[in-house]
Symmetry: C2
Subunit: 408 residues, 2 copies
């Protein structure tokens, strides 16, 4: 969807002539009352459900939407009943206008010149998309993590346009520790010599080293300590006894990328000898433990598809989100404007956005006599749980939609 | 102290003609029974207590030893009673033989060629230092974090040479999450283009970008979420309303170093405009929150004095430590060799080496009918608490030393 009107931003800057990528699922009913808007988190997109087909009609592998367990025909958010909209946010890198695209004013790739966008800005842009689709009121707005912040912000910016808000694994703002993790990730990207002040596009390079580190840090915070121990523990990558260096599998060849010259060079030249009979390689740079292999793989994969400037923008939007800040840090008056009914869900092992953070929102809403349902799911998967197929979690959302959201 | 004998390492490699830097405090008694060995953690040294004086006899600023709250005349480990030894480990960068020094075989700076050393190797080297000092039996061996692992290892490698082991904020091995944080830090260093495969010394550069990121990650894990919120919260670096970019304090000038060209260049060129009346700069790269400023400062400071290869080696020693591994992962049989009496201390808010990890050691020692004292301190400071001035913590150690360790 193209938008020709200028969008003023919270920073005082503005964006004009922007596009928003979106997908819809199901059918908008006659009175346009069954629309559900899905807001995405850091690295997701408008592709929330379903699969893509190739030209022959075959399902493209790994093309499932990021919330395909949640949304679809007969699923908790049932697209036989609801008209679901997924939208890619401004500043992201999956089709909506962002740093990888051209600034219509200069004709140059935005790069670092793309303005800082906030959760409030995203909600403004999403509201214009709904206007264009002819939807005045949402049956529900819904998101996890940063997506949950957008859902909460919707109820404050457009209280009359939202009947229900579903806020999953979210928080009323970031803690110092949350900001700290974001900042380390940003510094890794910004100090990568291939970042070129955010204008790497003009130099024909990508700051993939920094993106890899950023993603590795992120991944640690998405998982619980317990699930990491269960999945990886102290298991070795190659738990076979090795007699000498020459029998080792070519770790470096598999995992190191051309850009990572320092490591590639080292893989062949490091001098540590291997103790016959030991399970270890006694190396600081080769993979010893499975968790290392997993993280490197996640970092590599991410650095191939995600834009570094987008990473900076989206983590900054997380940092800035804080509806209580205009009310002396008090969340209750901050949420007084909300008119929606709420479902909040948190996960016990989520240490990034812990249940205590969701409970802050619940309490502030109850202080305002709002209608709030809250579920704390005893899932072992940490923050990642909001994307996973947990029957208790999906059951809670299903029954909320069936009993409260479904238009009569 | 110079050592001319070859030290065989756990990896199968060996080191010859090495030096160990050490300091002693107090006086070794006539029967040499009052020696206490202090083992250091990741970034500390042999300088555990006291201060340094300049040529005029004045105290050098900030020259206190890293455990000066714990060790000294009249302190919990009382140097009027005990002869305390601090030693810098092999592979470290504070005077003992390590990657920054010359390989006697080649005449070249070791750099990446310095062999991987383990906790067991450090204990071997420390034992030789004690031999040279004429000390057969330690009144106590003591350390926090990685230092606690060395103390534990002492009781297994030299059960007859240790009367007491004081193991603070430690663990019987690293969890997957612990290894994950180490691995991200290592990747940040190794993929810094200035790392040059670990031979940055030959190129006249230092991988300071990587070291900064490594230290920032480390710092997050040393602090508790609570203490971060209390110290920094969401406080802004410059909590004054700013009207335009020209009135901003020169953040970049204060904190960016010459090596960080990408950022330095950016500080002046980023295009985000500032909303009059907003407390924010709306920038992805300038400091907004105090926690960011704190982390950048810690990263910068660390990258000025710490050696990158040492960081790799010491984090790897942490990863490898796992006395249970030779006993099918069972800690009780692994600790059966220990003869020492034990004091273990953990801190409730330490999520890096949580109390549960200390309790694993306590349980395994009790299973072996060992004499164990254990204190779980309700300190808010996270892992860092083991270095801080907490009266309950220091009181526990004081009473243990007074009642159990003091030679009669």
């Amino acid at each position: 969807m193209h938008f020709a009107d200028v969008l003023p931003l919270q920073s005082g800057a503005s964006i004009r002539a922007y596009d928003l990528s979106y997908e819809t699922y199901g059918t908008l009913n006659a009175d346009r009352s069954n629309a559900v808007l899905i807001c995405h988190a850091l690295n997701a997109s408008h592709h929330v459900a379903g699969v893509y087909l190739d030209a022959q009609g075959a399902v493209l592998p790994k093309s499932e939407g990021w919330w395909d367990t949640m949304i679809g025909p007969g699923k908790p958010v049932d697209t036989d009943v609801f008209f679901v909209i997924g939208v890619n946010n401004l500043g992201s890198c999956f089709g909506s206008t962002g740093p990888m695209q051209r600034n219509p004013d200069s004709g140059e790739i935005y790069g670092a010149d793309f303005p800082v966008v906030t959760v409030q800005d995203w909600v403004q842009a999403q509201a214009r998309l709904l206007d264009a689709l002819g939807i005045t009121t949402l049956a529900a707005v819904m998101g996890g993590s940063l997506g949950g912040m957008q859902a909460l912000s919707w109820t404050l910016q457009y209280p009359e346009r939202v009947r229900h808000a579903v806020v999953v694994a979210s928080a009323p703002n970031l803690t110092a520790e949350n900001i700290a993790f974001n900042e380390v990730a940003r510094r890794a990207i910004v100090t990568d010599p291939d970042f070129h002040g955010g204008h790497y596009g003009r130099h024909g390079v990508l700051p993939q080293r920094g993106l890899r580190i950023a993603r590795m840090i992120g991944h640690i915070t998405y998982l619980s300590d317990d699930v990491m121990n269960e999945k990886f523990g102290r298991q070795l990558k190659a738990p076979t006894l090795v007699a000498s260096r020459t029998t080792l599998p070519p770790e470096g060849a598999l995992r190191l990328r051309p850009g990572e010259a320092g490591s590639a060079a080292l893989a062949g030249e490091e001098g540590a000898s291997t103790h016959v009979g030991s399970p270890f390689k006694y190396s600081t740079q080769e993979v010893e433990f499975q968790i290392e292999s997993y993280l490197r793989y996640q970092g590599d994969k991410f650095s191939e598809y995600f834009d570094a400037n987008t990473y900076l923008l989206i983590t900054r939007a997380l940092d800035y989100f804080d509806p209580a800040s205009e009310h002396g840090g008090k969340l209750t008056p901050a949420l007084a404007r909300a008119r929606a009914k709420f479902l909040l869900v948190s996960f016990k092992t989520d240490w990034r956005f812990s249940p205590a953070r969701s409970r802050e929102i619940v309490k502030a809403l109850l202080d305002n006599q709002r209608d709030v349902s809250y579920a704390e799911i005893d899932a072992p998967h940490g923050h990642d749980a909001f994307l996973l197929d947990d029957p208790r979690y999906l059951g809670v959302v299903r029954s909320y939609f069936e009993s409260k959201v479904t238009p009569c």
